[in-house]
């Protein structure tokens, strides 16, 4: 049994250096690595490039790291709902690279799976295509897109075991599994950490081979952006 458990978030992110490239799981605020983000705030490391579908909100998620000026660049598909983001972008403090969501997901998947480049139709004929190779297949036009990898991937799962196997819950899965595979060092925080052998091998979403460190998270806020209920 390979044991990957670390004590807490601070120990897990201990060696993330200045100017590192990070991937952070989540869609909106759903499935984000809350504990790791708090630890990064405490650590104060700066110059980070963050690959994340969204950029949090002003006072939660990656928004907090923006406020503390730890982020140099965001690679995302949608960065709305964040005034501080807008201010830093307009003032030139922050760089942003917007990528179509499916292309972002696939580029990360490719990074984890050793596929350096692939063709996708998304963005053909748009400004996303600038400088990219174009090719026609079966009468349709495609762009060549490259893989994305990270120095560290920070993912959040529902359950995990000591060898790093992960199970996500609901739509909190989103970008987490691909990011787990695309990080040189992948840190997983889980709501429930169990001994190896307790999770059904057939139900595991992220095999432990992709995870280098895992810890039991705490105090999950799981903030909801649009609490919409039935009338």
């Amino acid at each position: 049994m390979i044991d990957k458990v670390v004590e807490n978030a601070d120990k897990a992110v201990r060696d993330i250096p200045e100017n590192a490239t990070l991937m952070l799981g989540g869609f909106g605020l759903c499935g984000i690595p809350e504990n790791c983000i708090q630890a990064l705030l405490r650590k104060g490391v700066t110059g980070l490039t963050c690959i994340s579908n969204n950029a949090g909100v002003d006072d939660f998620g990656i928004g907090l790291m923006l406020k503390s000026r730890q982020v140099k660049k965001m690679i995302s598909s949608y960065v709305g709902e964040n005034e501080e983001f807008e201010r830093q972008l307009l003032s030139g403090e922050l760089e942003v690279d917007l990528v179509p969501q499916g292309t972002l997901a696939e580029r990360i998947r490719a990074g984890g799976a050793g596929i350096p480049a692939f063709y996708t139709p998304a963005g053909f004929g748009t400004e996303v295509a600038h400088g990219k190779e174009v090719r026609e297949y079966f009468g349709k036009m495609y762009l060549l897109e490259n893989w994305l990898k990270a120095d560290f991937s920070l993912v959040k799962a529902w359950k995990g075991d000591t060898t790093g196997n992960l199970i996500y819950k609901g739509t909190a899965r989103n970008f987490n599994p691909m990011m787990a595979a695309a990080g040189k060092i992948t840190i997983a925080e889980v709501e429930e950490l169990v001994p190896a052998g307790e999770l059904d091998p057939n139900a595991i979403h992220t095999p432990g081979i992709y995870v280098q460190r895992i810890f039991q998270g705490k105090n999950y806020e799981k903030r909801i952006e649009q609490r919409t209920v039935k009338k």
Binding site: C30, Y78, A105, E127, G170, T171, R173, M178, H205
Partner: protein, 219 residues
Amino acid sequence: MALDKIGIAKRIAQEIKTGTYINLGIGIPTLVANYIPENIHVVLQSENGLLGIGEFPTEEDVDADLINAGKQTVTMRAGSSLFHSAESFGMIRGGHVDLTILGAMEVSENGDIANWKIPGKMVKGMGGAMDLVASADNIIVAMQHKSRDGESKLLKRCTLPITGLKCVNKIITDLAVLDVLPEGGFRLVERAPGVTAEEIKNSTAGKLVIEGDIPEMKI
């Protein structure tokens, strides 16, 4: 009289065939779900990783780990499945979703769509829109016929940055139902109740094709 948002959603619901998988964009498209008849069985896809979106939850059933692409809390129907974002866009890109309904700022007469960016305004990003429009075989646009400034949104060419080329099949607005013709041009299919073909013509900057009597929508 021009339709309100609910009227547009109701008219779009008539386009929906039983046995299909559908991706609904944010805004009017999301409303469409409320007007699909009971005998029409469809599965709604949410690109953040869910097939089988159900109703909004009750207060007690709210689950922060279960949201739609508009980040609203939702529930799941019987027969739902959950998956990651690469699988979700694999579904979309691979042509497995039968119908995509989304909003637009502009549509051109050859089916180009612009709906993600206004120069000079803060750019929030394209989200999944570029993947959806580049991939789907059947795209219906739900939008107002004219902008708030009274400018037509059905144009000869889009003036805003493009989201995708030659991809829109049908447009349903507050004034009309229009097909995008393969050779270019908007073919008027139906008029909103009490709206004349003339009014629609005056509100359409791109090439409008009117052949014979144009029926009124039945909503």
